[in-house]
């Protein structure tokens, strides 16, 4: 895949494309397109992943998983497995109980939520195919798998419940009998007086939308390797995770181990996308076994297991109504969404639909909404985070409604949007649910995107094509998302059991080089590069030669409760780096003034030098100043020696990046095949630390969004058996299916964030389903089809066009 980045002069404050060659100093390194510092290591195969951790005496774990979707687990017979060659141990829930190991905590809780923790290995019941039941440890992974087959499970099957809506009907098979319902938790997202709006609405669009089950599908599956030192009592775990510190916290809590004796390392991680957000049972099990066996233990998930045991996402059914006046002014939104939770709550509970619904009104000035969110358990893999976290679904629903509203009133879709957008001067804007936006010009992104894609001439092209029997369509969507959530206090009050601050430690030694320690981890986003750029920018250093960023090791980095989730590392980690580097800078400036006998206000730092403004001959190298600071001699009065600063940044507010995506498509009426002709993104993510990284994030997100719109679907049969357990069945987009992505940047720095960054990582995924849904509806307008169900696969489109069955509607 390639993408064209068209950085427009309209970006402010500086045109980031112009590379002021070798200008190091404040404002010169942030915004620059440097190559990613981690790439040589990753691209040459030098970066170690969990699977590369090999220690002397290491043994390998294989997980015995439930073959049944629902049933009572009567007995586990491991006798034969224990006799199999090379087998060291078989572990079950009973053993964990005897060892005093507790349950996996749920990190997102709503009042009245029915489960707050889950067993690590199944106890008396199984709730989905793939649920971990027992663990076999053997000398190698082959022997472990051979023996795992020999563990025999006696399960009394129960009817499977695979539909969340049916799960909430009276008389439905109950999964967790003690709850007496399949409702895990609910929440009403409400603001204003929406029913009043519907009373006097001239138009009401009522629709049911169904979004299919998908998952993040990182190229590297999960994995964990642990070693325990009986002499010191120290345990080290390497784990493929987005949240090493939270994994450590959970291990300590679940196993009752002291934090100072547990070290968790996220080495190179090959993609996370939310799948690797929660701590998982296998990670705890590997630690417990390493301690019990006093041998290093490794488990690497295979792809089939990944389809059976790593969180899945996105599945929701919406029944919603949109009220408007006769001019297309939106008055209110109300309805209900049923979220398919899977067998039990994942760490994220019903957080996904809550976050999605929270920003559903997006860029529109509408003060009335009520959406009832219901999370129902079903006999499927637990559902959790996937890049976008509810926003792609909510955006699909809202933006399809807006297009339908325009169609009903025979108004131009762009005009209806412009009529409803929040005016730039109405910012900061408080939305119906109380989120306060931090500025933005939504109309400008829409105008710019439509200009880029040629909206004004498209109708003529479309009519011409239709005359030849060809189906062309255009779709566009403007959205605002809440990114890099904060402050911690508010997030924790909202039910999320972790704060959202970030602490960054910067150390400079006598060489004048800087090491940045951050508790987040990286799964390919380029955090090493972007944090190095922020640090280098403040300190007049070269990000490639003078800065190293250390991530993801709990022994060396500051505690980070949220780590690499929620589009937050560039923004929150970036801001903490910005502040910490500024404090180092302040000290360097003061010390330089002292050493050069100049005024503090006259000292500048850039190009690796500290000098008196305007007279570069009165200069010291950063190395000389750093040496002085570290030696601790000849310091000004009151200054302590050393160059080590730690800063915690707890975002006072969330940021609200926004974008417009637009696409044109062609549908072959005889095959139902869809080709994306063009895809345009106009994105404002505040200050761009590195436009190339921004574009990579957007392009990857758009590709995932396109996959979700057109290809990807996790399917279960009525017995709860998964039918998609390999990449032959679960279709990810490849380079061939993804068009060039044309990216235009706007830059409105976030007012409340040092550095001005807004969250970005998830943004690309938010709009594609909605954009393509709108484009397909437009292409198929002559057939009177309503696009309400994903994915938009060829069978569905062909049926719609050929009027067989219910097709797309």
């Amino acid at each position: 895949m390639t993408w064209t980045a068209r950085l427009q002069g309209e970006a402010q404050p500086q045109a980031a494309d112009e590379q002021p060659s070798l200008h190091l100093g404040p404002g010169r390194v942030i915004g620059r397109r440097i190559q990613r510092l981690e790439d040589p290591r990753l691209l040459t195969g030098q970066a170690p992943f969990v699977a590369d951790v090999n220690l002397p005496g290491m043994v390998h774990a294989a997980i015995v998983r439930s073959p049944a979707a629902h049933g009572y687990l009567r007995t586990i017979d491991a006798a034969e497995a224990l006799g199999s060659p090379g087998v060291q141990a078989v572990l079950t829930a009973k053993d964990l109980d005897e060892l005093g190991v507790g349950e996996m905590p749920v990190h997102w809780l709503r009042p009245g939520q029915r489960n707050v923790s889950n067993p690590i290995l199944a106890t008396d019941k199984v709730y989905y195919v793939g649920q971990p039941v027992a663990v076999v440890v053997a000398d190698d992974a082959y022997a472990a798998e051979d023996a795992a087959e020999l563990v025999s499970l006696e399960i009394d099957p129960l009817p499977a419940m695979v539909n969340a809506e049916e799960a909430l009907q009276p008389g439905a098979t109950i999964l967790h009998e003690e709850w007496e319902t399949n409702l895990l938790a609910e929440h009403i997202a409400s603001g204003g007086d929406v029913d009043r709006q519907f009373e006097h609405a001239e138009v009401v669009i009522a629709e049911r939308f169904q979004i299919q089950r998908q998952a993040g599908m990182p190229i590297e599956t999960r994995g964990a390797a642990a070693t325990y030192d009986p002499l010191t009592g120290e345990l080290t775990l390497w784990v493929s995770t987005q949240m090493p510190h939270l994994v450590k916290t959970d291990i300590c809590q679940v196993c009752g181990w002291p934090g100072h004796k547990v070290r968790v390392i996220a080495p190179a991680v090959g993609g996370g996308f939310g799948v690797k957000e929660p701590p998982y049972p296998e990670e705890i099990v590997v630690c417990v076994l390493a301690k019990q066996l006093a041998r290093p233990v490794k488990w690497v998930e295979d792809r089939r297991e990944h389809f059976l045991a790593s969180v899945q996402a996105r599945e929701m059914t919406w029944d919603v109504e949109l009220a408007a006046d006769g001019n297309g002014r939106i008055l209110g939104l109300r309805g209900r969404v049923i979220y398919d939770v899977g067998g039990h709550a994942s760490a994220q509970g019903i957080g996904v639909p809550i976050v999605g619904t929270g920003m559903m009104l997006g860029p529109y000035d509408v003060q009335h909404m009520r959406v009832h969110i219901l999370g129902a358990v079903t006999n499927k893999v637990p559902a959790g985070a996937y890049r976008g976290f509810g926003r792609p679904q909510a955006t699909f629903v809202m933006e399809r409604l807006v297009d339908e509203l325009a169609a009903r009133l025979n108004l131009d879709r762009a005009a209806v949007r412009q009529r409803n957008f929040i005016a730039p001067h109405a910012q900061p804007y408080r939305n119906a649910l109380g989120h306060v936006y931090d500025g933005g010009d939504y109309g400008r992104t829409l105008d710019r995107a439509l200009r880029q894609i040629g909206y004004d001439v498209f109708a003529a092209r479309q009519a011409e094509a239709r005359a030849q029997g060809r189906l062309l369509g255009i779709g566009f969507v403007t959205f605002v998302m809440e990114a890099g959530l904060g402050p911690s206090e508010q997030i924790v009050r909202g039910g999320h059991m972790t704060g959202t601050y970030e602490t960054v430690l910067i150390r400079m030694d006598p060489s004048g080089k800087a090491v940045v320690y951050c508790g987040s981890s990286s799964q390919g986003q380029g955090h090493e590069t972007t944090l190095a750029q922020v640090c280098a920018d403040r300190l007049g250093l070269d990000p490639e030669r003078d800065v190293v960023v250390v991530l993801g090791d709990t022994a060396t980095t500051p505690y980070s409760p949220a780590s690499a989730i929620g589009s937050r590392v560039g923004m929150v980690g970036g801001a903490a780096t910005f502040l910490a580097a500024d404090r180092i800078r302040e000290k360097l400036v003061k010390l330089t003034a002292h050493l050069l006998e100049a005024n503090v206000g006259d000292i500048e730092i850039s190009e690796g030098l500290a000098y008196v403004q305007g007279s570069k001959d009165r200069a010291l190298t950063i190395q000389e100043v750093a040496t002085a600071a570290c030696l601790g001699s000849n310091l000004p009065d009151g200054m302590l020696p050393g160059l080590e600063v730690s800063e915690t940044f707890d975002p006072p507010v969330s940021t609200f990046p926004y974008a417009t995506h637009a696409a044109t498509v062609e549908i072959d009426p005889d095959t139902g095949g869809l080709t994306i002709l063009r895809y345009v993104v106009v994105q404002d993510c505040g200050t761009m630390i590195n436009p190339s990284v921004v574009e990579g994030q957007i392009a990857g997100g758009v590709a995932q969004g396109i996959g979700g719109a057109l290809l990807e679907q996790l399917v279960y049969n009525s017995d709860g058996q998964p039918l998609t357990t390999s990449f032959m069945d679960y279709l990810l987009p490849t380079a061939v299916e993804i068009p060039d992505i044309e990216i235009v940047h706007l830059q409105t720095p976030a007012p409340d964030i040092p550095g001005g960054m807004k969250g970005l990582g998830e943004a690309g995924t938010v709009a594609p389903a909605a954009v393509l849904g709108n484009a397909v509806a437009d292409a198929l307008a002559p057939f009177g089809i309503r696009v309400t169900t994903l994915p938009l696969d060829p069978d569905r489109l062909w049926r719609a066009i050929n009027r067989r069955g219910d097709g797309a509607s």
């Binding site: 992974a141 082959y142 798998e145 051979d146 087959e149 295979d302 792809r303 089939r304 297991e305 005889d670 095959t671 139902g672 095949g673 290809l711 679907q713 399917v715 039918l723 998609t724 390999s726 032959m728 069945d729 279709l731 987009p733 490849t734 061939v736 299916e737 696969d793 060829p794 069978d795 062909w798 049926r799 050929n802 067989r804 069955g805």
Partner: protein, 293 residues
């Protein structure tokens, strides 16, 4: 996703392969490119005690002309056939079909005979060989036999091969000069197994009437060679109306099974579209003397 234990043989002679097959029969499996068999082993859906690797037998990797026919030894890599000048000259349909088989990495390992022996209902090569009236030469310790394509494919993933039999060679007869050919298909992604596809050959006579027609649809239990299509067209002018009628006739009795990627109804509709597109393209090429267009 680790295979159950198995023994492994890598003989250098066809005779040794046949001997081993005779000795182990049902307990052994031929391993060719491994592009279908290895995933089955890794999922433990197949667990043979023994694999007999045929890709080390030089005689089984070869493409040669024989009495005007094309003879492809079974373990010839798909990529080798794709780049064979001899094939391009006389049997370009095979090359057009191969372009739809998976991705180049897989074709570099996958063999021609492996695809035929595996008999996936959506595989391209079986449909192409059916269209070309290929003959399959089989060998076992009990002797050798030749099975025409029309009798070779028995059902889903099932062929006329006995457990102790080796597919040795595939023989493709020559085509009359000026035969137009086409292979078309539609898949959800580039390189995926097809949702629908068709292979067609059209030979015109001096008056421009259809002299010989061969059309095969893929996706049903076995490659679906449609006699009705041949009836509609042979002896008649290949005008658009007749092509439409022939494509419609092609799907009479065609029964693809539906799955999560496409219903039976959709696959039938798609097959008709593919049949029409294949016939149109083959006709264009028949008009230009059978050359690639």
């Amino acid at each position: 996703m680790k295979p159950a234990p198995f023994a492994y043989d890598a003989p250098r002679e066809t005779a040794q392969v046949v001997e081993l097959l005779a000795k182990y029969g049902d307990d052994a499996k031929v391993l060719a490119g491994g592009q279908s068999l290895i995933p089955l082993l890794n999922f433990r859906l197949a667990r043979p005690d023994r694999l007999i690797d045929v890709t080390r037998v030089p005689a089984l990797s070869n493409i040669e002309p024989r009495d005007g026919s094309l003879v492809i030894a079974a373990a010839t890599r798909q990529a080798t056939l794709e780049r064979s000048a001899l094939t391009a000259q006389g049997w370009p349909l095979l090359i057009e079909a191969l372009r739809y088989v998976a991705h180049s990495q897989i074709r570099a390992l996958g063999t021609v005979g492996g695809s035929v022996a595996h008999a996936d209902p959506a595989a391209e090569l079986p449909a192409a060989f059916m269209t070309l009236d290929a003959r399959f030469h089989l060998r076992c310790a009990r002797g050798a036999r030749t099975v025409p394509a029309a009798e070779f494919f028995v059902s889903y993933f099932t062929t006329a091969l006995e457990p102790d039999e080796l597919l040795e060679e595939i023989e493709v007869p020559p085509l009359p000069g000026g035969t137009g050919y086409a292979f078309v298909e539609f898949a959800r992604r580039h390189g995926d197994f097809a949702l629908g596809g068709a292979a067609a050959l059209i030979t015109l006579d001096a008056r421009g009437m259809c002299r010989h027609i061969s059309l095969t649809l893929l996706g049903a239990e076995t490659p679906w060679r449609s006699p009705q299509t041949e009836q509609v067209l042979v002896g008649n002018p290949p005008d658009e109306q007749n092509l439409v009628e022939a494509a419609h006739a092609a799907v009479q009795g065609f029964e693809p099974s539906g799955d999560i990627h496409g219903s039976t109804e959709y696959r039938i509709g798609l097959a008709e579209t593919m049949a029409l597109r294949a016939l149109r393209r083959a006709l264009d090429r028949a008009h230009t003397g059978g050359r690639p267009t």
